[in-house]
Amino acid sequence: MIKPAVILALAAAFLSMGLVFVAKTFADTVFLAEFGVKFVPHFYVAQAAGLILSSAGYGAALKRSPAAPLDFTILLSFAATAALGPALVRAGGAPVFVLALTLTVLSTLASLAVWNAATAIVSGRKSRWFLPRAGAAATAGAVVGGFGSSAVVGALTIDALGPVIAGMALLMIGIRAMLVRRSSEWRGRLPTVRTRALAERIKRRARAATDGGPRSPHRRLVTFLAVATVVEALLTAFIDFGFKAEVSARFTDPDDIGLFFSLFYGVSNAVLLLLQLFASSRLLATRSLRFSLSLEPGALLLAGVAWAIFPVLAIGALARGLESTMKFGVARPAQEVALTPLSEVERKRWKVLLRGVYNQGGGAAAGLLLVAAAPLLGPHFIVLPIATAFTALVWLVLQQLASDRYIDTLGSALGLRKLSLRDQREEVAFIDRDGMARIVELTGSSDENVAQFGRELLITFAHDGQLLAPHVGKGPPAQRAALYRILAARPHKSCAVALRAAMAGETAADGAAAACFDALAAYGDSSQVERARRLVDGHQPDEADPPPVRWAAWTYLAQVGALDRDPGGLEQVVAAALAKDGVRAADILQAMTARGALPVVDAEQMVERAAAAEEEERRQNGLYACAALGWPRLLGKVLEAMSGREPWLDEVVAELEPAALASFLKMEEYRRAPTRVRARVLRALRSSDQPEVSELVGGELLDPDPAVRELAARTLLRRARDHGDAVPRDLAERALALQLDRFEVYVRARPGYASEARESQMEVKYRSGSAADLSAEAFFIDELERRSERSLSRLCAVLALFGNPSSVYAAERALRAPTFKRRRQALDILQEVARGRERTRLLELLELYLLPPRNVADGAREAVCEMDPWLARCARGGDDPTMKKLWALRSTLLFDDIDGELLDALAVRSAEVEAGTSEVVVAEGDPGDALFVVMSGVVTIEREGKVVAQLGSGQAFGELALVDGLPRQATVKAEKQSLFLRLPRDTFDAALAEHPEIGLGLTRGLVRWLRQGEEMPRTTESMVVRWR
């Protein structure tokens, strides 16, 4: 239900702007008809002076007396001037100048007065609703004013507008009087000395806070805005003057001019109305300020250029129309946004300064400039469009600079020295021929560390065979061998010839020859069969510890197929390889099955047998072979082993080819594998850049295990960051939508339970400490809050992914600030620095989060429970005994960062213990083997016989011992019959091994402890002091 006062205020806004445009039509017409375009610049100067003086006078008068009588005076004199208008026009000459000037200045002043009175009737959050609507009503008034005056001029003459204006002004007086009765301005009339002094003090403090010195970002921001405003005023004057020149060249009859002006104002204001209603707010909300600020100068630059090429009235009118619509539709609101980092008082002050002083000053300067330049302008005013284009360009640059300062200012509000706006993704490393030569040389170094470093580099850069080929077979043995090994692992066709030539030069004396055999085997090059046969002649494949070269010769023969006619020997080689070099065995088996010398099933059985061997080395090599072959059945074995007692396989998996890793995701064994194993696989997949892997990882986002979902999301985000296009955008978005939807529901659920209930529960939890009052419901709410917090982080992570992480993270911290203003600032920053297609939606969600709580549908909670079985269990609550334990654990600061689900894992492992009055729970010097949380009762902490603290329920001791196991540094005694939760250290370790995420929460809890310790004293045994 809209109140009558609001309707009245809207009507006032409507009428005030209508009045301005009827008056403007009348003033512009009579002026142009009387003087032509010659005195327009003089008019600019006079108008600016008049506006500055009258605004200053109005402002000064407002300080002394109430607004209403002042406004009545203004409106009355305005009505009188307008009524006299036709008579003054007939007199001609100077009176017309005075008439036009007075009407322009007084109409501006009157509209300002009425606007102020209208907007004063609402305040606070209501103004968010009211102000845009009042703005639209005002523009609608301008439209009606424009078209209305064209109707009047068309039906009668231009002179008829005088009485119309006078009548409207009288109507305004009536509305203004009614507003007085509705508003509180009479009651607020108490500018006593005390309040004024207070206001001054606040103002001074605000100024001191925002003006951090001559070079502070605030100062620079307003400086740029001020200069930009002056340039804008110049531009406005140039366009207006050029436009009026075109009009006066085209029309001579005053009525024609009046009709043209009124129609022009009607149309341009109608466009502005549409812009305000449908585009402005959306534009400002979704695009960066840099864009919004640059829009008008950019458009005017184009219009100026077009006007210079086609100097006709239509283009001039277009430029003038663009100028007026975009100024109020885009540029002014954007300027207001640019001023938001300033304090309230400073912002108001600068708004007045920018519009009242700098804008008018620029107008006056433009007028003087045009007066001086009049002889240069010539008959066709071609100079003006050029000046317009040039000024627009200058303005564009200034607006860009101002938007940079805006970012800096926002950053300084968050304590950042500089917000970075650029993408920080690094260039891909590149290496040339010389670089490659140096790396290859490194591998031959006598210093093993250097050689190792060289080899690692070589592996990184070994994707270009052309660069490698010239170095094959050159240098010291270690260098040659290193290159051979790389070529064995990654064969390059272009190196085959070089390898064969190198083999001819290799003697069997050093290890390089063995490596060379391996490399040639990888190429399937059988040119060295004779030489290999000579080497193995007279030996058996299964001899113990053969020289490397002979072993390499055996495997070479087996791999290139030279032993196919000797099945016994071949089998021996494979068996020996499986026993001592799983990867080599995989190479041989791969080659054999590829050429049909061995059925795949048989090969699989051989490897499986090896992988199941009792003897450790054999088993390990078998598993290596399984991984290296990458056949689905064998990979299943690898997964099984990883889940069991072979943690070293993690490393192997990390080295696997993306194709093999991807096939993991399709396997049944993978679904059954523990989270740790799946995490390993997902993590290894981050380095691959194949889009099809993304699809598979995307599938994991639907996994029932939340930890896996989280990991999959992280993997996708990481891949998107590192490999750009490897993750299709739509997949990334779909994946993220999962997270976002959760977030939305949590946010919607928030006001219903969280805010109030949580507050009161926290009271209970930490102050009175009566555990009996703590319910499952409270835990549920707690958990809900935490997840919504985390979703906030996720949202920011997504933004960071497509933008620049450090700025987004910096803003993200401020999103959690206690004051709404600071959170708002953070959102402003994100608005500026965020990139990406989902940006708008993400920002909307963030804003939703930041807004004050609203009433929501009851279904939200059910929705949450549906999505999250664990939360559903919490919500059911009831007599679940673990809930009490969960609460007890959560009440310790150490576990505050651990999710309920994980905490659950700890709660089921902990026990409840009792202690009677004066019973010692832990004694100084005892081994620190457990954490205790007081569930009921009271305990005292004594050190050297003195009581240093007293703990009640919900408080914990022995947290640090849980981590480092140091002996107790204090004695804890039960004051009365007490109940504790006891979490033993080894149990905790076991839980940690199973759920590594607990560890992350734990470290965060410790960091928080450390940070709090910087400000507060406490006992080392417990964090309780902070609750005092």
């Binding site: 995420e997 470290t1003 410790l1006 450390l1010």
Partner: protein, 106 residues
């Protein structure tokens, strides 16, 4: 996964209030931790610095500068998180470092 950072004697690694998302491990040299104008700790080879901001996103709680020519390895937050999830032993040693710091300041 990690970058290397070299500091001349007296060079700043980071300042109080700065936003940072990395943990540093000192490979060689020594750094001093300055809070409120006084040196509160000196850390040498094998010790880590900056772990707090890397873990909790808050601004740096102290200024750290090198007191000798120092070589460090930088580990970004995301990588740190990955390592910590993948290797529970790392979590344990990191928490031990933190606990030791709590005990020392307490």
């Amino acid at each position: 996964m990690c970058d290397e950072v070299s500091l001349d004697p007296g060079e700043l690694l980071f300042e109080t209030g700065e936003v940072g998302d990395s943990l540093f491990v000192i490979v060689s040299g020594e750094v001093e931790v300055v809070r409120g104008g006084s040196v509160i700790a000196r850390l040498g080879e094998g010790e880590c610095v900056g772990e707090m901001a890397a873990l909790d996103w808050e601004p740096r709680s102290a200024t750290v500068r090198s007191s000798a020519a120092t070589h460090l390895v930088r580990l970004e937050r995301n990588d740190l998180m990955d390592l910590l999830t993948d290797y529970p032993e790392l979590v344990r040693s990191l928490s031990r470092v933190l606990v030791e710091r709590i005990r020392r300041t307490g």
